[in-house]
């Protein structure tokens, strides 16, 4: 009976979702321990989690489709203003945000991804860089929906007739994080993810197997757009303030750094990367007064940039790959020791 129970338990722990749920449960401590952690740190963690959602979508694009985009920040910005304009300007329910957000994300992804990916994968970064310039102009001139140069303040979202306070919004974010982790895990292990990987490894071979490069790459880009827009909605729901000029190129580049540094192919790797890049920026360089007010406030950029280059040149697996290699080496050493010990014992027995 006892053995069976542990066996059953093992079945659950072996399930890939188990880690995600445990991670979510650990995170759930944060909204209830806000007084102990402090408001600044809680905000930093919440923002990092939101960027993690975006980074997960981006990891589909970088790690699996082998493409780079520079329009992520623009999509986040569009998400924030979409939430504001639908709920505060047009006074529609939250469900409308999700539906319209999906439509907008798919349309944007199809237009900008379709044009650039038709030529070559490399053009996506250029075209999305142009998109980010366009977005800056849009944010500035549509001041009815974006507040123009000075930005907008959001009143907070209402769900099923309740208006959420910041603690409840944080819980919503954590639920969304765990949900996106599960969704990404399933996407990676679906035929879609396998097709993307095959394209990344050899596009000629993938084409020969009947995989349409354009369609799958476009799908990856559209998915990453949806993630980014959704991240923007979460950001606006929690921070309640968004300004057009905030969503500049440096946010896109930091997201890129987060995905690349952590390990673009791993859900946990992206988590580590996001916490390294954004956690460092939000919790260290933006909070410690000595660093924040000096000319060293942008040193986090330098660190992210150096990390990107080192990882791209020497550690294609990212930090998580490094940890895995280390783990394997230690394991190998231990098993080697065991083997040699057994060999010694055997010799003694003889």
């Amino acid at each position: 009976m006892d053995v069976k129970l542990s066996q059953k338990f093992k079945n659950y722990t072996k399930h890939p979702f188990f880690g995600f749920i445990v991670f979510g449960l650990i995170l759930l401590i944060i909204p209830f321990a806000k007084d102990i952690i402090g408001v600044t740190l809680t905000d930093a963690i919440a923002k990092t989690l939101i960027f993690y959602v975006v980074a997960l979508g981006f990891s589909l694009l970088i790690g699996y489709a082998g493409l780079a985009s520079l329009g992520t920040a623009a999509f986040i910005g569009i998400g924030t203003f979409l939430l504001y304009s639908i709920m505060n300007v047009f006074n529609l329910p939250f469900i409308a945000v999700i539906i319209i957000g999906l439509i907008v994300a798919i349309l944007l992804g199809l237009i900008f991804g379709g044009v650039s990916l038709r030529i070559e994968g490399m053009y996506l970064a250029i075209v999305t860089l142009g998109l980010s310039e366009i977005a800056v102009e849009l944010f500035k001139n549509f001041d009815q929906f974006t507040g123009g140069v000075s930005g907008t303040t959001f009143t907070g979202i209402e769900l099923f007739g309740f208006s959420l306070n910041s603690q409840q919004t944080l819980i919503l974010i954590i639920v969304a994080v765990v949900g996106t982790m599960m969704l990404t895990h399933n996407l990676i292990r679906s035929p879609f993810g396998r097709a993307l990987l095959s394209i990344k490894n050899s596009d000629s071979a993938a084409q020969a197997m009947g995989i349409s490069i354009l369609v799958y790459r476009l799908m990856a880009f559209v998915l990453s757009t949806i993630y980014a827009l959704f991240g923007g909605v979460l950001y606006m729901a929690y921070v309640k303030f968004s300004m057009g000029s905030q969503w500049s190129l440096s946010v896109s580049l930091n997201l890129l750094a987060a995905v690349v540094v952590g390990g673009a192919k791993s859900i946990w790797g992206v988590l580590i990367g996001t916490f390294v890049i954004f956690g460092l920026d939000l919790a260290v360089f933006k909070t410690i007064p000595f660093l924040r007010d000096s000319q060293f406030s942008n040193m986090s950029f330098v660190i992210s940039g150096i990390l990107i280059i080192i990882v791209m040149m020497y550690f294609p697996g990212g930090l998580i790959g490094l940890f895995k290699d280390l783990y394997m080496k230690i394991k190998l050493k231990i098993s080697n020791k065991k083997l040699s010990k057994e060999a010694v014992l055997d010799e003694n027995n003889d």
């Binding site: 780079a68 038709r118 970064a125 001139n141 580049l253 890129l256 406030s297 280059i309």
Partner: protein, 316 residues
């Protein structure tokens, strides 16, 4: 309308240089260098630093003599040249076999590094460069510049002195580079590397040297473009960390419009871009930029290789 076209032509002068830099790197390293604008920004900062080590917050623009200004600009261009060459030596030579997107990501990392380093070295205040022009009225540069002014006056367009200088410099540099590409050993090497790097190196072309020289020249072109743009604005605060990003985007779109497969295509693309930009921003204000980018995307949808692109057949 003619006025708009002519002013677009003038504005496209720095853009052609930046675009030529993008194409040089694309041809020899098979990637697009996102860091070129930031290298140019760095060079422009160096020039202002030499002219005015601590920026005047009250809004005064430095007023250098011909000698110091020329020296500062030469040092700035040298910084662009050297930084770009070092990037190739230490980073891109070692990652020659990574994918084009991988190299793009590395250049984005360089953008982040320079963005962070600029305020650390030069402070957080905006800086400024004076207009190039009045200082050079007594030198030999005056004669060709006067000729350009006369040429524009034929069309009843009143070109400013500093604009004529930038048109002259861009024209000379582009002519020199195209002649070099056509007739020098370096140019032959670049064309050979562009068509097939492996075969070129087997045929005795020193592809490493060719590539790093191309990077260096592209860096210098980026630096000249940055100095030209910031100095032509001529008011306080024309140099900040992000002032080259729009130019970088425009250079990429001009290159896409012209097509990456030839050298002359992107340069003509840059001129077309400049003219269209001037026309669009007059008639479609404030949506000029947006409409122009969307128009280029539309053109690329029908002509994926750009206006002057040639289809390159590839063996598998």
């Amino acid at each position: 309308m003619l006025d708009l076209i002519l002013s677009g032509l003038i504005q496209s002068a720095p853009l052609t240089l930046a675009t030529l830099g993008v194409v040089l790197i694309f041809k020899t390293s098979f990637t697009t260098n996102f860091a070129q604008g930031m290298i140019g920004t760095l060079a422009a900062y160096v020039v202002t630093f030499i002219l005015m080590p601590t920026p005047d917050v009250t809004g005064n623009v430095p007023d250098p003599t011909v000698g110091t200004y020329t020296l500062a600009i030469v040092i700035g261009i040298a910084v662009g040249f050297i930084v770009s060459m070092l990037l190739d030596l230490f980073i891109f030579r070692k990652s020659r076999y990574s994918t084009p997107v991988g190299k793009q990501i590395i250049t984005m990392g360089i953008v982040l590094i320079i963005t962070g380093l600029i305020p650390t070295f030069f402070g957080i205040n905006e800086r400024s460069l004076p207009r190039i022009g009045a200082q050079f009225e007594d030198t030999f540069l005056n004669y060709p510049v006067q000729a350009i002014i006369w040429l524009f006056n034929l069309f009843d367009y009143n070109i400013l002195y500093h604009q004529a200088v930038s048109v002259f410099i861009a024209f000379v540099l582009i002519t020199v580079i195209f002649v070099a590409l056509r007739y020098t050993k370096w140019g032959l090497g670049v064309r050979a590397t562009a068509s097939n790097e492996n075969v070129a190196s087997m045929m005795g072309v020193n592809t490493k040297l060719i590539t790093s020289m191309s990077w260096a020249i592209a860096g210098a072109l980026g630096a000249i473009a940055a100095i030209m743009i910031s100095s032509s604005r001529g008011y306080y605060g024309n140099i900040n960390t992000y002032f080259m990003i729009p130019i970088q985007v425009q250079a990429f779109f001009a290159a896409i419009l012209g097509g990456f497969s030839t050298f002359y295509g992107p340069v003509i693309g840059a001129v077309i871009f400049g003219v269209l930009n001037s026309v669009f921003s007059f008639y479609l204000n404030p949506w000029g930029n947006t409409m122009l980018y969307l128009l280029i995307l539309l053109i690329v949808l029908f002509k994926p290789l750009g206006l002057f692109g040639k289809k390159v057949a590839k063996k598998v």
